[in-house]
Amino acid sequence: MIKEKFDAIVVGAGMSGNAAAYTMASHGLNVLQLERGEYPGSKNVQGAIMYANMLEEIIPDFRDDAPLERHLVEQRLWVMDDTSHTGIHYRSDDFNEAKPNRYTIIRAQFDKWFSRKVREAGATVLCETTVTELVRDAKDKVVGVRTDRTGGEIFADVVVLAEGVCGLLGTRAGLREMPRPKSVALAVKEMHFLPEEVIEQRFGLKAGEGCVIEAVGTISRSMAGLGFLYTNRESISLGIGCLVSDFAASMESPYVVLDTLKNHPSIRPLIAGSEVKEYAAHLIPEGGYKAIPQLFGDGWVVVGDAAQLNNAVHREGSNLAMTSGRIAAEAIVQVKSRKRPMTKQNLALYKTMLNKSFVIKDLKKYKDMPDLLHTNSRNFFTTYPQLMSQAAQNFMRVDGTPKLDKEKATTTAFIKARSRWGLLSDMVRLTFAWR
């Protein structure tokens, strides 16, 4: 049996767990972090884009040694049908700043680096150790964990659950429900390796600059989904995620959907000649504000994906994870410094602090968006993209048809597809969901 009692046990070494462990350890707490993977990052999957500000809040000088791929200077948003894409591209030299705002990263490398920082801050990190159960006292307060290693229970004042999207530990313990199929997406991605110069040529980039494409449309085969392409230093992450409930209803296979995206005429030339070295899949919380579970209790808090903190509309997840991990840690440090017990009442401070941050504010803003997009997925992910493509082609193609007739044809197509009432109601609902 381990006699030592820790100030905090962090379950999981992803973004939120590392942020929490780092913050607590650097405030002098005795922290034990448990990770089931062979090394931190071995089980973690993300696109991945990392937002600098949220990491700066934790490790201000991360740019000195963090493994960063490219800083982003261009964002392309595409609406696709089977043969075309209509896009908005935003590129700015302003993004070539001394401290760039966003980077592409490769999680296996990034998480190893982050974990090294956690250890340097003084936390004890154990890998290949799966937490199987929470240990509670007679008053039902969480007082420690049991793992899959022999040696029994291990105790701490508070347990930070940073266990990821499935959250088996917390759901088994009855702290929250298992995420529902309609509130998680399954994303699959491939890593396409290409020489650095080829990537820079294809996307018109200088060394170190990066470009991302995010796309909706017929690529998700009427499911609520999003395709993405991120440029790394010498690879391209290409993937697509759709709601699990939609996969179940449509019986589509994730790899077929990804294959279709890869073979789309707008994507194929961008990855031509590449070597695929990695295929990964992961669940993403998509339930938004309404899916956020109870975030704290007697002796525990939950952070990151396990707390469903993910902004699907803006495709932000890791920064919400890092921020929630940091804020939970700061709350714990405060409770500890006041010499108060880690009770539900005292840990409510975490929720109060989180409410004031962008995490909850952003999710609240889009609280109706998941419902709208998920229930109307056919319209938003197939009908409108097709109509938009037709309209764009109609506008661009010069064939002697009078322009008035062309515009009339476009209008008719929209009304025919969705009716005047349908168009109006989609617009109104989208506007309200966005507000």
Partner: protein, 283 residues
């Protein structure tokens, strides 16, 4: 009892790729593991310690990153880890490696007590020579017990050990004096999963880093590339044989017919053989 286990960090052969032109192993970006054969040695050492008391020291020679392998060994339950690392060791063949390791083992002995048993794996999966273990035994004048499958007993008072050794055509049961060097056969045990306490110990202990000087090695000409007479002249992939072995069924057959059939088959493949046989036979 003090048991020392030599391990090596090797590239994970399951994930390795060979350079198509030079035929050399592409190590870059390939995950590393403890040489799988060494895990049988480590587990046997841990079992002996658990049964007879004492401590287990793991030793490796390698680049600084080999510390990961040692930390893993601590996680399985080893008590102490020594990393022999120095730029003078770069490019060592088995001769130079066994020299450096035997010097380090002597130093471990001086510092923490002479090992009663030195373990190595049967061989490594990257070099496959099976020379380093015997090389150490020779230099340290240890009794050498290779291909050991089982260790039924150790008598510390009488300084005796009994081992079961796999040999051609069977097994030998040997009794030997301590100290000795044992190379452990694969498949003879299964590496344990360290307890929570072991894992904590591994995460928090220092791995000792020894340079050539720390290990008391003063003859640097016997280390690294300079001390390695082995030269790799060429590395090549064997060409696959196009012909496959033929299987002849033999249920209830006349042996004479079978023999005739076999000879006929051989002679069709090598017609030159017929003439040669006829000539030698003189008939």
């Amino acid at each position: 009892m003090h048991i020392l286990v030599c391990i090596k960090q090797v590239p994970d052969s399951a994930q390795i790729r060979v350079h198509p032109v030079t035929n050399t192993i592409m190590r870059q970006g390939v995950p590393t593991i403890i040489n799988p054969y060494d895990l049988f040695a480590l587990e046997e050492a841990l079992r002996l310690r658990d049964n007879y008391g004492g401590e287990v020291t793991v030793l490796t020679m390698g680049p600084p990153m080999a510390e990961d392998a040692l930390r893993k060994a601590l996680g399985y339950g080893a008590d102490r880890a020594v990393l022999l690392t120095d730029r003078y060791f770069a490019g060592s063949d088995t001769l130079a490696t066994s020299y450096a390791l035997s010097q380090a083992i002597a130093k471990v002995g001086e510092t923490f007590g002479t090992p009663d048993i030195v373990f190595t794996g049967k061989q490594t999966i990257d070099g496959d020579t099976a020379q380093v273990g015997p090389g150490i035994a020779k230099r340290l004048d240890l009794i050498q017990l290779t291909y050991v499958a089982k260790i039924p007993s150790v008598d510390l008072d009488a300084r005796e050990i009994k081992v079961e050794r796999r040999c051609e055509g069977g097994a030998q049961m040997l009794k030997s004096r301590l100290p000795c060097l044992i190379t452990m056969l694969e498949g003879t045990n299964e590496i344990r999963r360290g307890s929570l306490e072991d894992a904590l110990y591994a995460a928090r202990s220092q791995v000792l880093r020894w340079s050539a000087a720390d290990a008391g090695i003063d003859d640097l000409t016997r280390c690294g590339l300079r001390g390695s007479p082995t030269v790799v002249k060429r590395v090549f992939a064997p060409t696959a044989r196009a012909e496959k072995a033929a299987l002849i069924e033999t249920p209830e057959r006349n042996l004479r017919d079978l023999a005739d059939e076999l000879i006929a088959a051989i002679l069709t493949r090598g017609p030159a053989l017929e003439q040669e046989l006829a000539f030698n036979g003189g008939e």
